[in-house]
């Protein structure tokens, strides 16, 4: 698929970009290529959030999302920086999850859902008719609100993605490195053949994260990953997100403002308009949004006065 991308690139948006450090097209490219497992963990130095302005992974332009005739979000303009954690906050029903699911075309699965506008991923319009949504989801992984391990063994949960992607390296190594990366290896290494559904909620969610990173994506979308978890498990997931940030770009929807405040680099605040469509109110570095918001709505929300 990447071989045809030059025609999809928008010249004025991508020409100036330096080649990405870990180009998404080289990680287990397409279906069938082999990949070095070690590259996942060794690719980047540990330095968090470099000072210079990072390149954008996503550029969202005039994005509106619809469920049949109902407009769920309208006119979102947004850039998502690479190797950062971007949190989406806002009251219930403001379209946070809808927006998140636009990034890997998960909304395609819902009958009647469609978008207007553009979502560029490394300069490629994700909604171009030539783009294969399956490949999009391989590169842009997703962790869901409720832990949803397959009712199969822990091993098979992790191995399914690489298998369908045609991974031909050592599956045992890949499963082990993915589970280690998701900080759950020590808890499950002796029971890889047991069903993933037998784990606790927090462990299940980390298993789902392991499953997501096993296909070596470029971006991880997290849709309220901690809403079904207790505070201890939540903290573990947050620590894990911080770890993963060195290799991945993470987008997280959260209801929990403290979580956004302590576990994200950038924050995007959305709210609902009178037409019930969600729109973007303010975006910026997390510290700024929480301590010195420019918009009154944002201030009311982050200070707990509404929503």
């Amino acid at each position: 698929m990447q071989s045809e991308t030059p025609t999809m690139y928008d010249a004025d948006e991508t020409d100036a970009q330096a080649p990405p450090v870990r180009d998404p097209s080289t990680a287990m490219d397409g279906r069938g290529a082999t990949v070095n497992v070690g590259a996942v963990t060794a690719a980047r130095p540990e330095a968090p959030a470099p000072a210079e302005a990072p390149e954008s992974v996503f550029e969202v332009r005039e994005l509106s999302a619809y469920y049949s005739s109902f407009r769920a979000i309208r006119d979102v303009e947004l850039d998502i920086p690479r190797n950062r954690i971007t949190a989406f906050i806002g009251p219930s029903g403001c379209g946070k999850s809808t927006l998140l699911r636009c990034f890997n075309r998960m909304n395609d699965l819902i009958p009647g859902a469609h978008i207007k506008g553009r979502v560029n991923y490394h300069g490629v319009d994700l909604y171009d008719s030539r783009v294969d949504a399956v490949e999009v989801r391989r590169r842009i992984g997703m962790v869901f609100q409720k832990p949803n391990p397959f009712p199969k063994s822990i091993y098979d949960n992790v191995a399914f993605g690489p298998r369908v992607a045609g991974y031909r390296g050592s599956m045992d190594e890949l499963v082990e490195s993915s589970l280690k990366r998701a900080a759950i290896w020590d808890e499950v290494k002796d029971k890889l053949k047991q069903p993933g559904t037998a784990l606790s909620g927090g462990q299940q969610q980390r298993l789902c994260i392991a499953r997501t990173i096993a296909v070596q994506p470029d971006v991880i979308l997290m849709d309220e990953p901690c809403s079904a978890l207790d505070p201890v498990a939540t903290l573990k997931i947050e620590e894990l997100m911080f770890e993963l940030r060195t290799d991945y770009t993470i987008l997280i929807v959260t209801h929990n403002m403290q979580q956004a405040a302590r576990a994200s680099d950038e924050t995007v605040f959305l709210t609902m308009g009178d037409d019930r469509a969600g729109y973007l109110v303010e975006k910026g570095p997390t510290a700024e949004i929480f301590t010195n918001p420019r918009n009154q709505l944002t201030e009311d929300y982050v200070s707990g006065r509404f929503g």
């Binding site: 890997n104 998960m106 699965l109 009958p111 399956v134 490949e135 989801r137 391989r138 590169r139 992984g141 997703m142 962790v143 869901f144 409720k146 949803n148 391990p149 397959f150 009712p151 399914f160 993605g161 369908v164 992607a165 789902c208 499953r211 997501t212 096993a214 296909v215």
Partner: protein
């Protein structure tokens, strides 16, 4: 001083007041009566069933005592009640079940997968869904008429007229809607987050369906289809129409597979039907014995379905 104004006399103490409120109630006769009525209905239904079964069992006892069971199960039909057995009937029923298993189950499951996983939710699909449900409720004898028109008459060259093939295909059509409905229910029970999880790691629709949806739905699909086979096993009316032999017949010893399949056949329910109309009283006992065999077989089939369901029951 306000005592006369109060609707109830003031109690002496709080304990007494609570005691009065909690324990003073009369027995609730209406609920008791309702409960008894429900129990009576249950006992009536059960009672009739038990009476019927006991009656049949008592009638069948002489057959199982006087003849050896193996002989009864294997001998062909005969006008002589001392020799008559259900061998041909069992063979015929078994062949029909093979038709149902080989044709109805794969076609039914495939239809259900298409309807549940692929078809868009539009007016056309809804009409198909409603139609399938209605077809499941159509009396089997109507399918028998269809069987005559299509398999016995129209496709005579292939089916050999009133033959096992005609009977098998008719039964396939009888059970097909039920297989589709049972399979569709099982597929619908697989939660969407599982599908999303599959798509989320970059699986295609087919990979998600093959590796996850169908495997997780299989216990439910199997339970439904096995119950369907049980129902097909006892089906009589359509088979009488498409030519199940109600007497006895002999098969040419040197007939090939195709000739046999295109030849005459009978089934267990058909034999029960025909024996019950015989004038000689010995056939009453034979009928009862054949009914016991049919009941045991259906019980085994349903038991298998229950075992499968309990063994693979999945909680989400």
């Amino acid at each position: 001083m306000t005592a006369t104004a109060q609707p109830f006399p003031p109690p002496q103490s709080a304990t007494e007041a609570v005691e009065q409120a909690l324990m003073g109630k009369q027995r609730d006769w209406r609920s008791t009566a309702f409960e008894l009525a429900l129990l009576a209905s249950l006992l009536m239904a059960l009672g009739i069933l038990i009476w019927l079964l006991t009656d049949i069992f008592l009638r069948a006892v002489p057959v199982f005592q006087e003849r050896d069971l193996f002989g009864f199960l294997t001998s062909p039909g005969s006008s002589n009640p001392l020799n008559a057995g259900i061998g041909q009937a069992l063979l015929g029923s078994l062949l029909l079940m093979i038709f149902v298993a080989v044709l109805a189950i794969p076609i039914g499951i495939a239809s259900a997968v298409y309807l549940e996983e692929y078809a868009a939710d539009n007016a056309f699909t809804r009409i198909i869904n409603t139609t399938v449900r209605n077809l499941a409720g159509v009396p089997a004898v109507v399918y028998g008429l269809l069987g005559i028109a299509v398999f016995v008459v129209l496709l005579k060259d292939w089916t050999g007229g009133p033959s096992i093939i005609s009977g098998g295909l008719t039964l396939v059509i009888v059970v097909l809607p039920i297989v589709v409905i049972a399979s569709a229910e099982a597929l619908r029970a697989v939660p969407d987050p599982i599908r999303e999880a599959g798509f989320g790691v970059g699986a295609t629709k087919w990979e998600v369906i093959r590796s996850h949806v169908i495997p997780y739905a299989i216990p439910g699909i199997l339970t439904g289809t096995i119950l369907t086979i049980g129902r097909a096993f006892g089906e009589t009316a359509p088979l009488l129409l498409v030519g199940a032999v109600t007497g006895f017949f002999s098969v040419a010893a040197n007939a090939g597979v195709v000739e046999r399949l295109q030849g005459p056949y009978t089934t267990l329910p058909t034999v029960i039907f025909s024996w019950s109309r015989q004038p000689r009283s010995e056939f009453r006992e034979l009928t009862a014995a054949a009914i016991i065999v049919l009941l045991v077989l259906v019980l085994i089939i349903n038991g298998l379905a229950i075992i499968l369901r309990n063994r693979y029951a999945r909680k989400w």
